[in-house]
Symmetry: C2
Subunit: 427 residues, 2 copies
């Protein structure tokens, strides 16, 4: 049990920030918060207190959760952004991903990837690996060794992609079960069923992956309705399906309330209804959607219909890993959507976008992403003195807003995941 | 005369980057480039050589030019972004600007502003100050003392704004002339005529400012067609005018090929024709346009019609000063425009957006923004070893792209303006 003292800022609900100045958060030995308040409760008076905010510019926020990111695309981040989705995949992304048949190459990139997630304050992520079982297990090991949380996906793909990036529908089940065994002893790392997307998966592949997900009660992640050409292609490949999402559903990939679908830029009508029925979580990836010219997802509409929306960096369609920047782009893109749709739907507020990157995204991992009793203590200590310390008139909320728009890894001074302080991972 | 050796990367034209590996740039005593080449020309063999790129991760690019930025809004950067233009002005911006009647406050903010421009690699800027003559002269002095280039604008505004932010049409001429005298001895700092925007300026104010611009051959900067409500307001205020731009033109504020107009999100038809006829330079401010939900300027259309387009950070409508990020947003917003207009017009390339922030923006200051003979030596030495140094396979162009998308002030290791290395300005 540890008692932390500090200035805590978080979003229990999307509507507003909550804060606790010079308050106390008590965390049990499993890393779970048991008390949040202005005083140390009776019985704990003599326990030692860990001061998280010694400096005047310090406060504590929930750690970031990145719900859609491609670890093997890490080398390409911030470049190769001159094409839209389908040619981008063929020209830049698939050639890079095929290098992960080499475990040494995987080690070099994946260790840098985990290090840079850490650096940017992301303590948990839902990650696409590649089709390569050894490299994928290595990625899981690296997260486990770092003490950070992850769902790791061995990617299923067996059509419309280079030969060297195809795995076989008849071996994927054994490979996923092997990954489950590999991650079994890892407290914060698990396996997620990961068909790449409909155009790259035969019906056999989708159906086997759906079966594996159901038999092993695994969550599922994939891509959905990112780009118009992709959607048209899916309609051609699966002409009987009422929507793109219905293809995943047909193969059992949307049961169990634990499917997350990235993008959904053009999800509407029957597709949206299905996503709502199946309690699918939409992962909004605004940096990626703008870099690949995909469009802007109607996030306000999703939220108003009761669909959960979390955020993803989607490196390397997204150009960088900082979830502060992804929050910022989520707000900005929703303002453009608002401007382009005659201001019909209010744009996202700061607290809504922050909530998406913390408490909503965290919900994939259990009770994660908020400072409430029962929640894992995942936290970042922010020192914004270099940004805002020169002016004592900034309010706590203004400082959080400036953090989202201006802070980088220099402002993150300590990182916690499941109650444990996470040291710099080794590259 | 100084001979610089290094890896130079620049854009003489928008079409592509040029580069010179381990080449030489000779700069005369006025800070102007006299030679660019792979060898030291005859007669200079014995002159000392300054090595700009000692490390493997170092290269030299032209320094950044920020053609639209509000120095008195510096304190508000990265916050107060939940409103669109007109309420944003009244709620956040005007109250902040009125503080600049106090020279001590101006000193505190303006010195930080100049320091942070420097930090982000912006060596020249076209700057809005406020209506306050003393604070405005101080801002000019700070640029001059730092050795950085600037056009400084004393803002004219006398209607539709708080009483304490109104100056008088009948005193503005004397105040501008006083500023001209103040900046006369400053080699890189000059005066620019700066009516705020049509809604805030009476016809008398506009007409006096137009007269001053013409009599003293001064350039002019203002705002144009940023936001639909603003445009509707102008149409109401000036019902006879065929377009918003025609109002400025009517009062002599668009002659002389040296007018720069920020935003132009909705400039088209007759307005665009006038801008072309008057050789007005459009200052595209993508971060601001997205933060205030203004829209996306049709930049491709401007360029295709032969209109010069430079870039502005527009702090604090824009949330930050880095022109790397503004280049990035310019590309990203043009991709969204492309997506939303049925892919009719190709989006901006990296070299086009880079060229806008260097050579086009630089043209306001003379021959600035390129590594060509006759151009001022304005340069940034970039050390990207922390970003890209771990992988020797990145090409020079990929490194520049990663700089635009990923680099921050840590990657800028030396800064030159007009041939002089610029040390860290004092706050």
């Amino acid at each position: 049990m540890t008692i932390y003292k500090g200035n805590f800022v978080w979003t229990s609900s999307p509507k507003q920030f909550e804060s606790l100045e010079q308050g106390y958060v008590i965390v049990d030995d499993k890393g779970v918060i048991s008390h949040v308040g202005t005083h140390i409760p009776p019985g704990y008076e003599n326990a030692p207190v860990v001061e998280l905010c010694s400096g005047a510019g310090e406060y504590v926020i929930p750690a970031m959760n990145d719900l859609h990111v491609h670890a093997p695309q890490y080398r390409n981040q911030g470049m190769a952004l001159d094409l839209e989705l389908l040619p981008w995949l063929n020209t830049y992304t698939f050639p890079e991903e095929s290098k992960f048949s080499d475990p040494d190459y995987a080690q070099s990139i994946y260790s840098r990837f985990v290090y840079n997630l850490w650096k940017n304050g992301t303590m948990r992520a839902a990650v696409f690996a590649t089709i390569h079982p050894e490299a994928t297990k290595l990625l899981a090991t690296l997260f486990d060794r770092a003490g950070m949380g992850a769902y790791i996906g061995l990617v299923g793909m067996d059509r419309n992609c280079p030969q060297e990036l195809r795995n076989e529908a008849n071996t994927i089940e054994a490979q996923i079960i092997d990954l489950i065994h590999h991650t079994k002893s890892m407290p914060l790392v698990s396996t997620i069923v990961t068909p790449r997307f409909v155009p790259a998966c035969t019906p056999t592949m989708l159906s086997i992956m759906g079966k594996v997900a159901q038999e092993h009660h695994l969550p599922v992640q994939s891509h959905l309705s990112e780009n118009k050409s992709e959607i048209a292609w899916v309609a051609q490949l699966e002409p009987e399906s009422p929507s793109y999402a219905h293809v995943y559903d047909k193969y059992g990939l949307m049961s169990d309330s634990s499917t997350i679908m990235a993008h959904c830029c053009y999800s509407q009508g029957e597709e949206l209804q299905l996503l709502r029925q199946r309690h699918v979580m939409i992962i909004h990836c605004p940096t990626s959607n703008v870099n690949l010219g995909s469009g802007i997802a109607p996030v306000r509409q999703f939220i108003d219909q009761g669909i959960r929306v979390a955020l993803g960096s989607d490196v390397s369609g997204g150009h960088q890993l900082s979830m502060f920047r992804v929050i910022q782009y989520a707000i900005q893109m929703s303002k453009l959507k608002w401007a382009f749709t005659d201001k019909q739907m209010p744009y996202l507020t700061l607290s809504e976008a922050f909530h998406a990157a913390t408490k909503v995204g965290g919900s994939l991992f259990g009770k994660v992403g908020s400072f409430e009793p029962g929640y894992a203590f995942d936290a970042l200590v922010i020192d914004d003195s270099a940004l805002s310390g020169w002016d004592k008139q900034y309010s706590p909320l203004q400082r959080v807003e400036r953090c989202v728009y201006l802070a980088d890894d220099r402002q993150i001074v300590r990182r916690y995941c499941q109650g444990r302080e996470i040291p710099e991972p080794q590259i």
